[in-house]
Amino acid sequence: MDFPFLTLITFIPLVGAIIASLIPGDREREIKWFSVFVSLIPLVLSIVMWALYVQTDGGMQFMEEAVWIPTLNAYYRMGVDGISIPLVFLTTLLTTLSLFYSAYTIKKRVKEFFVLFLMLEMGMIGVFLSLDLVLFYVFWEIGLVPMFLLIGIWGQPKDRPQYSAIKFFLYTLVGSVAMLLAFIAIFLTTGTWNILEISSLGPLADSPALAVAAFWGIFLAFAIKVPMWPFHTWLPDAHTAAPTAGSVILAGVLLKLGGYGFIRILLPFFPALFKQFAPFIGVIALISMIYGALVSMAQWDLKRLIAYSSVSHMGYFTLGLVAAAATLDVSDPLLTSRAIALSGAVLQMFNHGIITGGLFFLVGVIYERTHTRDLKAFGGLSAKLPVYYGVMMMTGLASLGLPGLAGFISELLVFRGAFHIMPTYAIIGVIAIVLTAAYILWKIIQYVFLGEFSEEKWRAIFDPEHWHFSLDMARFEVITMAPLLFFMLLVGVYPAPILNVINAASTAILGSL
Amino acid sequence: MDAIVLWLTSLFPQMAVPTARLIVHIVYAAILSFVAPVVLVVAFTYMERKVIARIQDRVGPNRAGPLGMLQGFADAIKMLTKEDITPAGADRIVYNLAPGLAVIGVVLVFAVLPVAPGVIGTDLSIGILYVVAVGGIGTMAVLMAGWSSNNKYALLSAFRVVAQLVAYEIPMVIAIIIVVLTAGSMRMGDIIAAQNVPFLFTLPVAFFIFFVANIAEIGRSPFDLLEAESEIIAGFHVEYSGMKFAFFFIGEYMHLFVSAGIATTLFLGGWRGPGASEASILGALLGFVYFLAKTVLLIFAMMWVRGTFPRFRIDHLLDFGWKFLVPVGLLTLVAVALVLKLPFLSSPVLQWVGLLVANVAVIVVALAAVSLAARRTRSVALRSVAGAER
């Protein structure tokens, strides 16, 4: 048997969580650094795996299979393709960075935090790797609970963390239930849970009504997770309440679970239905993009602003997805455009993870110092915190899609695909780009960094007693951001390494629909 | 015993073999249940007092009968004539049940005790397990007595008894498992048959553990916390008097004998000795003599221990059981299992040597660990003392 990369990547965090939970709770230092160390292992493994991945082959690799629950015909099946590899890498990277960042900033109930975080990592990676619906569902739900607790326990008291956590939980759960029912329906007709096999069988072909119901059931689950308008209202609350690392993971990875589900499950299972409903979903995507950007613009809470920007940015993803699904033509100019749109969508997920993750880190940076996120409370900080200004500027520019940084490439690919397949949608969607520039520059940069620095205002919010690091970004914060900045630049300047795998997989998936 | 059965059937030709066997068993049981207690108690109280006296440089009983030999009978008579009290507020039924149960628990063990070649109540395939299992009844009796007396000290004593018995049952069982492992059977007969060399010599650690745990099980000094006069007056039977007290007394001395007998069977080769065999009455008698001699020797050793060692403190007692005997026992178990499975120790002689070496190694390791721990404890203590002075 080959080296079981996937199992190790998935379960090493769990093992780490168990070991960490056995360390006495008062040895906080040991718990923190042990967790960081443990999270490094899957990170390294995912990098090695990426290096060993055969890039020309778009199919599943590193497959593992074992009987799991014979009575259910459920198998322990795992595999990666070009869609999941970047996302797995993103997960492991962001987890490591989050843990590293939290090692400095989490003060209460340290042990629980780190243990939960590692378990969260397991759940997320598991979703990206599983090729069996039961396994997928189990991991899907596993990720839910730690996140719920992270928001509820470590949230900022003034942001109603319990309310937010429960909202998050219920929202997701509603979707999950719908998804589960759909899965069961699919299983009952096909007799297998194997995602690949179901994809090739085309489930529920003989009962159109049921197929439509199953389609929308699954759609609901993923749409809530992505989140698409109008299922997005859990997102700003959850983000606002969550601790910094939680927000990072929430934005960086959890939203991608939905996106991944669309590509891995909904699209291959129901390509015809997806095509049929594509105009409608495209409208939702457009609304998400523009609406999210508009609401962002009206925000005065920095974190909430970024949360809404996630809605907008994930709308780009949806647009790319819809463009790829809007036709089933596999002849060349169209297939290329569809593959580009899908690649763009996947890359948009990756980029959004890196960029918005970074933005949340940066909100954390200022929040740790001042304990406020009110844009009106800041001003002129670029003189006081020049490094922070620079980093925020770069991340913000990446977010608004400045060419040369990551966000642009995915936007380009998405629109490139969409312009060919559904030009009207693409033209409307372009408006969102302008709006994005407006809220990033106008709201974030201008209100926080530009203008006059006022010593009195600053003294009113800055709390030197609770902040023991340097005023400008401390070393650990810079270290946290450095890999993200690196990837923003790398993907923006030379996206081929990452696009190679994504593109091969997109082409393969679309070709096999 | 089969010999006796044969003899009986030859004496009464019309008697069927099963009937004869039944008769023999009943007689044997009667002897064990009625005669043995009295004899044993009298003999061993006398012996104990003598031995202890000698150790303490006294003479011991010397008035009643020649050399004070009748002292035991005198005591017995005294007991029987004392007033039988049931305290007010006591749980009457339980209170009265307890002493009987104490004796029954011990007598039941006699059923599997091979006192001579072929003389055994029933040679169960799970013989030694049975011994352990029946041991629980004695514990129950103590608990019942302690609780039903409606006496604070009795109850406390009962707690202690249970704690101690539970704690020392485990090393004892481990020691037994070592023996069973080596002998390959739980049947008493098989265990004896396996001892071409007595296990005392091949498994000294197991013997030591068993011996110590046994003393604790019986509750003899230095493990007599349950009846420590200075702390809890006299233990769980403080409210008992007269015949009921005598029952506990009898139970204790029978337990002494039975456990020594089991130890003999497990480690000293039981009735084995030159000339002892099942074949003839003479051989059987000779076997019985061997058995008795070995048993008495062990009982003597226990008395010796009693006369020599001071009483443990309760936490030390539990520490000794849990932190020394159990780990050492487990270590030995593993070592013995390894030795038995080593392929190159095929011949019995090699195996004996191997077992001995393993045991010695365990001893060394255990002693090293103990001394290390002791040194650390001492240094910690010294440091705290020094800190206090400063």
Binding site: - | D91, I93, V94, L124, S125, I126, L129, Y130, V132, A133, V134, G135, G136, I137, T139, M140, L143, M144, W147, S148, L155, A158, F159, V162, V166, M186
Partner: protein, 171 residues
């Protein structure tokens, strides 16, 4: 196989012990007595095992149920003694429903058990049950090794759990 009178008598005595003990357990006002009745009931079950040629199980039953569990229960009773006033009823208010349900359950069970045609083994097989302990050991460490290991882990967990639960909270 013919039914032996002695067996029937022994069975009757044991049943008396077992069920009588059981009834004592659930009905006695004094909890300590209840525990002792429990021991009686266990002893009856030991007899059942002997009667069923399961000597090893009998010893185990004796060792664990009487030697350990019963004693533990007695222990617990003694530890929480202060609250056991004898005057207070030991039954809660739903006892009569419970009684009704239980009796019904018994009737249903008895009927069901009667109706079922049990696949009893052949006389020959019945005459020579396998009672070798070594075989039991091989079963445990062979086909049932995983349950066996799980059980051992369970015991360990129970041990640790019990210790932690019962430990005084450190202050």
């Amino acid at each position: 196989m013919p039914t032996n009178v002695v067996q029937i008598v022994v069975f009757a005595i044991l049943t008396l012990m077992t069920l009588g003990g059981g009834l004592g357990v659930v009905s006695s006002r004094n909890l300590f007595h209840g525990a002792l009745f429990l021991v009686l009931s266990f002893a009856g079950v030991v007899g059942y095992y002997v009667l069923l040629d399961a000597g090893f199980l009998a010893a185990v039953q004796l060792l664990i149920y009487i030697g350990a569990i019963a004693i533990l229960i007695l222990f617990a009773i003694m530890l929480s003694r202060g609250l056991m006033s004898q005057r207070q009823s030991q039954r809660n208010e739903q006892w009569w429903i419970a009684l009704l349900v239980v009796v019904l359950t018994f009737v249903v069970l008895a009927v069901v058990l009667w109706q079922v045609d049990w696949p009893v083994a052949s006389d020959q097989a019945l005459a020579s049950p396998s009672v070798a302990i070594s075989q039991l050991g091989q079963e445990l460490l062979g086909p049932y090794v995983i349950p066996f290991e799980v059980a051992s882990v369970l015991l360990l967990v129970a041990l640790v759990g019990a210790v932690i639960l019962a430990r005084e909270t450190e202050t």
